[in-house]
């Protein structure tokens, strides 16, 4: 790959939620800004922009990542999954989202996309995750509304629904 110049915009291609998307980015553009401003996928929220709050968590090649700590040009050619990829069909919430709604796992909703993406990856890898593991994994996220208890309840419910193969829980 040639050296990408700082003051130019360069083509970046992602497989975003199963769809190929293209945009342009200066080398310094973060994945969060690329998703929001170039692609228009505003489900990923920007909080602290230095890797502390977890609001911008997405999956890059199946692994959780802070989108603010990745450059768009670094992930060029990667698979990226965002909160928009969680809905089971257009207009229908995914299992983890539904559990958050039922158990009041969100209030203002700013941090929620990050929590959802971390849980999506966790339950894929560890469908049997216990409460300790869930709490430890969620420690990489800040929520200033809920006090976390309803989030943990929602996560436990989502785990059980996913494990029992329930899809019609709404």
């Amino acid at each position: 790959m040639p050296r990408l110049s700082a003051d130019r915009r360069h083509p970046v291609t992602l497989n975003l939620n199963g769809r190929t998307v293209r945009g342009e980015a200066e080398p310094r553009m973060s994945l969060t800004d690329f998703l929001r401003h170039e692609i228009g996928a505003t489900g990923t929220h920007v909080g602290c922009e230095h890797g502390v709050c977890g609001a911008c968590t997405v999956l890059i090649d199946g692994q959780t990542a802070r989108a603010c700590l990745a450059l768009a040009v670094q992930v060029d050619g990667s698979d990226v999954k965002t909160v928009e990829g969680l809905e089971e069909e257009p207009g229908r919430l995914g299992v983890i989202q539904e559990a958050f709604r039922e158990h009041h796992g969100l209030q203002c909703g700013f941090c929620t996309p990050g929590f959802l993406m971390t849980l999506d990856a966790l339950f894929r890898e560890r469908p049997d995750a216990d409460e300790d593991l869930i709490r430890e994994t969620l420690s990489g996220h800040l929520c200033r509304c809920t006090g976390y208890a309803p989030i943990v309840r929602a996560a436990l419910a989502a785990r059980d629904w996913l494990r029992d193969g329930e899809t019609d829980h709404a």
């Binding site: 790959m1 040639p2 050296r3 990408l4 110049s5 700082a6 003051d7 200066e26 080398p27 310094r28 973060s30 800004d33 922009e49 230095h50 890797g51 977890g54 968590t57 890059i60 692994q63 959780t64 990542a65 802070r66 603010c68 700590l69 990745a70 450059l71 040009v73 670094q74 971390t118 430890e136 994994t137 420690s139 990489g140």
Partner: protein
């Protein structure tokens, strides 16, 4: 918080990375997982003219076990090492410390060598490298050299790595026969920077060693007598004072010193129990 502008170059080989870095001197930085560098860029504490991305270099993604050391290439992510088969037997101290490194979301991208290069005084991976007497393998152009961890960490986020050098790999000596290890840490929340981190080794002859992060400007290690020896507490207390703990937002120097004594003792006792 947006980074200052920089060029970006994705390289395919170690040779190319080392060459570019040597040619650009202090204006270029290696980016691997980016979990330490990206916040520095966002806060404009680092303003390189060029980032050299080494994550597509196949040769750097290796973990080699030659029976004596685990050699971890600069492209190995922390999560990959955490899930490396047999790690708990080959390097129990690394296995115990890794879950404390950042959060699962940052371990999935951050690299082992990146954390060593960043040299945060509370970093677990640097602490373990000190505790087990590891080595950092550096390269500038075609010139290679290896530096012992004790000589590599030179201060607060400062290392012996020259600006035109890159870390190619780090070596963690594997567990010695009859030795046992323990790791403990105090932080406000799991995943936050350690206020005090302790890595203890218990040797078959009864002696112990304690490595401490988060107190001095760099991880420090000291040999200590067995915990049931009458001189143990004085030796530990002396170590705690020698670390020159300072006050900061997270804890006072006095608190840190006390934690070195208490948490240090608990960690050593746990290591001894693991041996027996």
């Amino acid at each position: 918080m947006k980074s200052a502008p920089f060029d970006y170059l994705r390289v395919d080989s170690v040779e190319e990375a080392a060459q570019v870095l040597a040619a650009e001197g202090g204006d270029a930085r290696i980016i691997a997982g980016g979990q330490s560098l990206m916040p520095m860029l966002a806060m404009r504490l680092a303003t390189p003219a060029l980032l050299v991305d080494i994550m597509h270099v196949e040769a750097l993604r290796r973990i080699d076990d030659d029976g004596k050391v685990l050699r971890i290439g600069a492209g190995v992510r922390q999560r990959t090492l955490e899930h490396h088969a047999g790690l708990a037997e080959r390097h129990p101290l690394l296995a115990k410390a890794l879950p404390w490194v950042g959060h699962s979301q940052t371990r999935a991208r951050g690299t082992v060598c990146g954390s060593i290069a960043h040299a945060d005084p509370s970093a677990e991976l640097a602490l373990v490298l000190m505790a087990c007497g590891g080595t950092v393998h550096l390269r500038a152009g075609r010139k290679k050299r290896s530096v012992a961890a004790a000589d590599f960490f030179t201060g607060m986020m400062a290392t012996a790595k020259a600006e035109n050098e890159m870390i190619e790999a780090v070596s963690y000596p594997v567990a010695a026969p009859g030795h046992s290890y323990a790791y403990r840490e105090i932080a406000r929340r799991h995943g936050d920077y350690a206020i005090v981190g302790c890595a203890a080794t218990a040797r078959p002859d009864g002696t112990t060693s304690l490595a401490v992060a988060g107190v001095a400007d760099q991880p420090m290690v000291r040999d200590l007598p067995p915990p049931d020896d009458s001189g143990f507490f004085d030796a530990l207390n002396q170590f705690a004072w020698d670390l020159n703990a300072r006050d900061d937002l997270h804890a006072t120097g006095r608190y840190r010193r006390d934690m070195v004594r208490r948490l240090g003792r608990q960690t050593i006792e746990e290591a001894v129990r693991c041996r027996d």
